[in-house]
């Protein structure tokens, strides 16, 4: 009898607790940076090395490319079959140019099977909305600008002081992980 009362106390205590339900269609979940959603594909970066198609455990990637006028390989078609893709991330892992990446797009439901065959254009469009490519590019440009500004400042400072001392590099931001 006592145990039952204790249990009743526990459930009663929950009445006023904060509710944990996520109001899904209105409130989307916030995914962490590494979240493995549906791919994005940046054709400009692809060198048609075929590594992603080879590593894919379910063989869901098919691609073809041709050489352009500059004898560089250019991607022509790039299809992922999301009927069998298991979003394992191995293709992203092997890609030498980061042409293929995962996004935070996770909504795959569709009315017909055809919609699961995503081609290059869909994957490219996907990156605009969900991808990190542009954000990364901007961050890179930003970092480059900052770097340039710093170098400029360091140069000026060096010129002023005319001493061989090295400027303090802002390296804190670059160190990941923890001790």
């Amino acid at each position: 009898m006592f145990g039952i009362l204790k249990g009743l106390g526990v459930t009663f205590g929950q009445l006023t607790k904060k509710k944990v339900t996520l109001q899904y269609p209105e409130v989307k979940p916030v995914w962490p940076e590494r979240f493995r959603g549906i791919h994005e594909f940046i054709p400009e970066l692809c060198i048609v090395c075929n590594q992603c198609a080879r590593i894919c455990p379910t063989s869901c990637i098919s691609l073809s490319g041709s050489r352009d006028a500059n004898k560089k390989m250019r991607i022509d078609t790039y299809d992922i079959n999301f009927e069998i893709c298991i979003l394992c991330d191995l293709c992203v892992e092997v890609c030498p140019t980061e042409a293929i990446r995962m996004t935070d797009q996770f909504e795959l439901a569709a009315y017909s099977r055809e919609e699961f065959y995503k081609d290059m254009h869909w994957l490219y469009d996907n990156h605009k909305e969900h991808g990190t490519y542009h954000a990364l590019q901007e961050a890179k440009e930003q970092a480059a600008k900052e770097q340039a500004a710093k170098e400029q400042a360091a140069k000026e400072a060096g010129a002023k002081e005319q001493a061989g001392r090295e400027p303090v590099a802002a390296s804190e931001a670059a160190t990941g992980g923890e001790t």
């Binding site: 039952i4 249990g7 009743l8 526990v10 459930t11 009663f12 929950q14 009445l15 607790k17 904060k18 509710k19 944990v20 339900t21 109001q23």
Partner: protein, 330 residues
């Protein structure tokens, strides 16, 4: 206040009575509908969820949408089912559920409720008819899960009907009447106050037996979804399924109202209007049942019968004896 009980049964009064009954029925249907909503909200809050919140403001129309959906669904009769019984069983279960509500005094004026001299017995007698509907439904479905569910509910409900009736006897002895209105009135003048105080043993037995009668957790073996899918109404769809659901919730309301009337002083209470007191007390009892539902695991089926016959009935008998002794001595 107008009360049809004291009026002669003329044509006009008869029509008034019918209209009144229909109005009461409509109100009760609404109450029952919101009972489902209340259940889902309470259980959801206890489980840190939000509960229904999509249909209408705060999800208030959710139950209505559910009922509407059930009414619009196809009424499927399995090919191998016993067609006649399958069709009639939900009605057998459903009709007594609403009939028992006729004797419950909702307010001090008790408009449109029957001041039957044997109100308590009437309730217990009619609610046993519902079991027939459940058993027949389980059998007629010609489904093994339904059959086992039906068998279980028959055994369980018959067993728990006895302690339920016995636990009420103490109250009847104190009040000296089987009339529910009289029982409430007696509680106003009783020296112990409401009967929950002198009849606390009876109340506990009543509540346990009531929960068992309602097939509520922890006594929800007839419809244990992890064992029997949905028990006796596994094969039912559409409005026949709705009938069973409604039956269950009408009884939930009815038995809470009965507990309120018998033990908690019915509509008695200061300041507030009597119907509000009745509503508050009934809601409290219902809330308690939902609370149990959110907390308890299911009872073991082989301990179920033993509990009724070896624990509840002796305790209820002891309570009757005690009440008799006390009313003789005190």
């Amino acid at each position: 206040m107008f009360s049809w009980q004291t009026q002669p049964l003329t044509g006009l009064n008869f029509i008034g009575m019918v209209i009144g009954a229909v109005v009461v029925l409509a109100i009760l249907l609404l109450v029952v509908m919101y009972l489902i909503f209340f259940l889902r909200k309470v259980v959801a809050w206890m489980q840190n969820r939000i509960g229904p919140n999509r249909v209408g403001p705060w999800g208030l129309f959710q139950s209505m949408a559910d009922v509407l959906k059930l009414l619009l669904k196809e009424d499927i009769v399995p090919a191998k089912a016993d067609r006649a019984l399958f069709l009639v069983a939900p009605i057998i279960a459903f009709v007594p559920a609403f009939t028992v509500l006729a004797v419950i005094p909702y307010t001090a004026g008790h408009i449109f409720t029957a001041g039957l001299n044997i109100g308590v017995l009437f309730y217990i007698a009619l609610s046993s008819i519902t079991i027939l509907g459940i058993v027949l439904g389980g059998w007629a479905s010609n489904n093994k899960y339904s059959l086992v569910g039906g068998l279980r509910s028959a055994a369980q409900m018959i067993s728990y009907e006895i302690p339920l009736g016995m636990s009420v006897l103490g109250v009847v002895m104190l009040a000296g009447s089987l009339n529910l209105t009289t029982i409430v009135q007696q509680q106003a003048t009783d020296r112990f106050g409401w009967y929950i105080i002198p009849q606390i043993i009876g109340f506990v037995v009543f509540m346990i037996a009531a929960v068992a009668e309602l097939n509520q957790t922890p006594f929800d073996l007839p419809e244990a979804e992890s064992e029997l899918v949905a028990g006796y109404f596994t094969e039912y769809t559409g409005f026949r399924f709705a009938f069973y659901m409604l039956t269950e919730f009408v009884y939930l309301f009815a038995i809470s109202a009965l507990a309120t009337t018998l033990f908690l002083g019915g509509w008695l209470g200061p300041w507030l209007p009597s119907w509000l007191w009745f509503a508050i007390k009934t809601s409290a009892v219902i809330f308690f049942m939902f609370w149990l539902r959110a907390t308890m695991p299911r009872l073991r089926v082989d301990k179920l019968m033993g509990f009724a016959w070896k624990v509840l009935i002796p305790v209820a008998l002891f309570n009757i004896l005690l009440t008799g002794l006390l009313s003789l001595l005190v």
